[in-house]
């Protein structure tokens, strides 16, 4: 299935031919329960893609498969030209430039906010390089900038474990920003944020589009609309619908299983 065939609506993302991520017939099952069912999905370079779908549709599982946390039973995930991600481990995949924000905020609770960012910063990951690494002025500037973006300036030297839920969400987004991966996978980035912050986040994400490739999972339909991107609806482990937000919101099956009346 190519992206072009399911094109039914308008999209704000500038279309480029180059495919960056290609999930091909991916299936995952847990004790007989199919969380992903021959899921196929194409993400282009520089694209912003939102993924929605009912609870338990397999959105998080899909990200698990891409980042190497879960091995699919069947199917492949091709990154770039011909790298099969299903054969690599998490750190190798991360080093290819795939970054992720988890649904449940996961930060290093015993490190400070600053150190969390420092670890995430784009830098060599080799053992001996980290042993000898020095923080340069540009690094510091980057960290400061990210702290500002995420509103955590005054929490700079606090232990991340002492942050509130929402602050952890922001910190995790910050870690992703400073890592500057090729692809950003965002699992429910605005959960627990105020409406205002949600708007800010939407702006932030739109700014990143083009330079980065983004896949965003959300349930907040206003936010999805703000992003103005192409939407994929997952249901029971496979794609139910795909297209613009208006197209999707009008889709009867989507309304039935997801949006409600």
């Amino acid at each position: 299935m190519s992206a072009a065939q399911s094109e039914n609506g308008r999209t704000t993302t500038p279309r480029r031919a180059e495919t960056l991520l290609y999930l091909d017939g991916v299936s995952v099952s847990f004790d007989g329960f199919k969380a992903l069912n021959e899921l196929s999905l194409v993400i282009d370079r520089g694209e912003l893609r939102t993924v929605i779908g009912p609870n338990g549709a397999g959105k998080t599982t899909m990200m698990d498969v891409i980042t190497g946390k879960t091995r699919p039973d069947e199917g492949t995930v091709i990154y770039g030209a011909d790298t099969d991600l299903t054969r690599l481990d998490e750190s190798a995949i991360a080093n290819l430039g795939i970054g992720r924000k988890f649904q449940k905020p996961t930060v290093f609770e015993n490190l400070t906010v600053f150190e969390n960012l420092e670890l995430a910063a784009r830098d060599s990951r080799g053992i001996f390089r980290t042993l000898l690494a020095k923080l340069s002025g540009t690094d510091l500037a980057r960290i400061d900038e990210t702290l500002a973006t995420t509103g955590l300036v005054e929490h700079r030297h606090r232990q991340a474990g002492a942050l509130s839920h929402g602050q952890k969400q922001w910190l995790e987004i910050g870690m992703l920003l400073i890592h500057e991966p090729q692809i950003l996978l965002l699992d429910e980035p605005v959960a627990g944020m105020t409406d205002h912050e949600t708007e800010q986040t939407a702006q932030l994400i739109r700014r990143l589009t083009g330079k980065h490739t983004l896949v965003v999972v959300e349930h907040d339909m206003q936010f999805v609309r703000d992003l103005g991107a192409r939407v994929t609806v997952l249901h029971e482990g496979s794609v139910l619908a795909e297209g613009s937000i208006d197209h999707v919101q009008a889709h009867p099956r989507v309304i039935e299983v997801y949006l409600g009346r």
């Binding site: 847990f30 329960f33 779908g53 009912p54 609870n55 338990g56 549709a57 959105k59 998080t60 649904q103 449940k104 002492a162 942050l163 509130s164 839920h165 929402g166 602050q167 969400q169 922001w170 429910e188 959960a191 627990g192 944020m193 105020t194 409406d195 205002h196 912050e197 349930h219 907040d220 339909m221 299983v257 997801y258 949006l259 409600g260 009346r261």
Partner: protein, 231 residues
């Protein structure tokens, strides 16, 4: 009726709640709003005794429960849907729900049918482990588990987080229904303003550990409130 009177809460040296007072009436929905890190979760945890307070009183049914252990408060009819869900990961869905029987008398130990009507997905997953559920499914389970205890004070910390729109609508309906039944006080923390405003009878706005606005929904200055939530 719940009356929290001038409580103070500290994390080490940091003062997380400053002389906070709120009230939650039976049959009403009281909604606490505020930006990240202002102390909403801390307040709820303090009410439940999961975080100890330094001073102030927590009156429930005319009795100060500040000295009681959390499980004793549960026996007094409190129930909580915590932020982060706190499902027992290695208990099955069914067992997770059974934990709701703990504060109940023997004859009341049944799972009301309406729970399954509200969250049909749970019925199909009774034997799956709680930790294996998706985020939204866990949230549903957490609400179900709290309702099974037949609470008279239901505390919900961002219950819509991670839940699909159709179910949010269902939850909204349920909360309304529960409030309308008139035997339950509901204390709700929510970031999703539309949802909060739709449900709330009373609104409390917090800022840096303090209550800055408090009153019936209609009486509050919407513009000021919006300011507190954005800056």
């Amino acid at each position: 009726m719940l009356n929290v009177e001038t409580i103070d809460l500290f994390y080490g040296a940091s003062h997380a709640l400053r002389r906070v007072s709120i009230a939650a009436e039976i049959g009403k929905v009281t909604c606490v709003l505020g930006r990240n890190g202002v102390g909403k979760t801390s307040l709820l945890r303090a009410i439940f005794g999961l975080q100890s307070i330094r001073s102030g009183r927590i009156m429930w049914d005319g009795e100060d429960i500040a000295g009681l252990k959390p499980h004793e408060r549960a026996r007094k009819g409190l129930a909580i849907v915590p932020q982060g869900r706190d499902i027992f990961p290695r208990l099955t869905v069914y067992e997770n729900m059974l934990t709701g029987f703990a504060p109940l008398a023997k004859p009341l130990r049944t799972i009301p049918e309406e729970i399954y009507q509200l969250f049909p997905v749970l019925k199909s997953m009774l034997n799956r482990r709680g930790g294996d559920l998706s985020g939204g499914q866990q949230q549903q389970l957490a609400i179900a588990r709290a309702l099974i205890t037949r609470p008279r004070l239901l505390i919900l910390d961002e219950p819509t987080e991670g839940i699909q729109p159709s179910i949010i609508k269902d939850i909204e309906r349920v909360i309304k229904l529960l409030a309308a039944r008139g035997d339950m006080a509901i204390l709700l923390v929510e970031q999703y303003l539309d949802f909060a405003q739709e449900l709330a009878d009373t609104i409390v706005v917090m800022e840096r550990g303090e209550v800055v606005m408090n009153g019936p929904k209609a009486s509050l200055d919407a513009e000021r409130m919006r300011r507190y939530l954005t800056v």
